[in-house]
């Protein structure tokens, strides 16, 4: 790995860590100005998280690697569009990775067949308890509002988010009719929005 990075950014800034958030924001501003060392720091600080995002959506590791590369190319060119008033840096970066991973997933057939248990909550098996999301205020509120949904709504929304799956795939994997899956998810999202806006 290339050395000589002058700035260092702490790995894996927690959503609630204001200092880490500020460092990432500063790095993004520097990247927007064409600072290569800042770009390398940003890569080192965030690539493991973004690779995790890609690997959840794409089954083939080589696809996830290609998408991670595309993601950072996009970050280099689009860093100037980052608006610190409207998004946290890690959210902005993760959404770029998710969008690219979902587009790549749509380009191929989804091979996943593991069934979705509509009666159970869905956790990322690799991440341990859901409490990791609750380390920030917004995470706590989202977790509380997800709890107010029916179990099947919650299971489908969480699976859709983590795996980036289409309605059709979710229906196939949960064994529920497509129309029901769409309606559960849409209603769940409406209820989630209402709860979060309280």
């Amino acid at each position: 790995m290339t050395e000589g990075t002058k700035t260092t950014i702490e790995r894996e800034p927690a959503a609630g860590d204001g200092a880490a958030r500020e460092r990432l924001r500063d790095a993004l501003v520097a990247v927007a100005g064409g600072d290569r060392a800042a770009f390398e720091s940003l890569y080192k600080a965030t690539s493991a998280k973004l690779f995790g995002v890609c690997l959840r959506i794409l089954q083939k590791r080589s696809d996830a690697e290609d998408v991670l590369q595309e993601t950072y190319v996009a970050i280099w060119h689009k860093a100037g569009l980052f608006d610190a008033e409207r998004a946290s840096p890690i959210t902005w970066l993760a959404m770029i990775a998710r969008n690219k991973a979902i587009d790549r997933a749509r380009a191929g057939a989804d091979q996943r067949t593991a069934s979705i248990d509509l009666a159970a909550g869905v956790d990322d098996p690799a991440a341990g308890p859901a409490t990791t999301a609750e380390s920030s205020d917004s995470g706590r509120r989202l977790a509380l509002c997800l709890e107010t949904l029916e179990a099947r709504q919650r299971a489908l929304i969480r699976t859709a988010f983590f795996d980036g799956m289409t309605y059709e795939n979710l229906a196939a994997r949960s064994g529920a009719p497509l129309g029901s899956v769409k309606s559960w998810i849409r209603r769940g999202l409406q209820k989630l929005k209402a709860c979060l806006e309280q």
Binding site: T2, F51, D103, F161, R186
Partner: protein
């Protein structure tokens, strides 16, 4: 199937479409439509942004996974352009080359084809290659050996070594001790010049290996750290 839940025939409103896009449930054509709309409809774009913010805390639940070390050089080359080393830095080309028997067979066919044509030069020396594999059989490095020039191109595939250490390449002729071919690199291909005295020892019976050494290479002339990868030499 019918029931009280089957209201899906109702087209989704604004907010629901933005949410569905962010959640990731739309198919490719719908995603393109939504993206076109984001570009021209500011209110809709704001809704998408709001949904991203709503669902973003879920990202914290996704476990980080370290990408392989060769990805940063790929990203850097894709962003800043390939510097100095030209196309050799294209790891994907090399991964393709090492992708397995199919690629080797294809390369062999090319050679067979070339060698059946009227020879423009008297001899064609088929290159030697070596997959330098980890204990689990996965390639850590791949070497191609140009015997006419006495050079070896050593390409990192998936080698990981501690930051303060370097990988050193060794040639091990049958029944002999290891001979250093110099320090290589986990992030870049390196062209190794094979010392004249060792060129005749590069045979299909010899092996190559990578050991982990202090910066600058082994101080003793023999491997001092663990041998992390090794492999035999084959002819294409």
């Amino acid at each position: 199937m019918s029931g009280p839940d089957d209201i899906a025939a109702t087209p989704p409103d604004h907010g629901s479409l933005a949410a569905e896009y962010v959640l990731g449930v739309l198919d490719a054509p719908r995603r393109r439509e939504v993206e076109a709309r984001i570009a021209r409809d500011r209110a809709f774009a704001r809704e998408v942004g709001e949904w991203q913010a709503r669902l973003a805390p879920l990202v914290a639940e996704i476990a980080p996974v370290d990408p392989p070390l060769y990805l940063w050089p790929r990203v850097r080359n894709a962003v800043f352009g390939v510097e100095r080393r030209g196309r050799l830095d294209d790891v994907s080309l090399w991964r393709w080359l090492t992708a397995g028997a199919g690629a080797v067979a294809a390369a062999a066919l090319v050679f067979a084809f070339v060698s059946t044509r009227p020879p423009p030069v008297p001899t064609v020396v088929a290159p030697f290659v070596a997959a330098i594999n980890l204990d689990d059989g996965k390639p850590a490095f791949v070497a191609t050996i140009d015997r006419a020039r006495g050079t070896m191109i050593v390409m990192p595939i998936a080698a990981v070594i501690p930051a303060e250490k370097v990988p050193e390449l060794w040639l091990i002729p049958p029944g002999d001790k290891p001979h250093s071919l110099g320090v290589v690199d986990v992030a870049h291909p390196v062209v190794v010049s094979i010392p004249a005295a060792l060129r005749d020892a590069v045979t299909l019976q010899a092996a190559v290996a990578i050991s982990v050494e202090p910066r600058g290479g082994s101080p003793t002339g023999q491997p001092t750290g663990p041998v992390i990868a090794k492999g035999g030499i084959a002819s294409l």
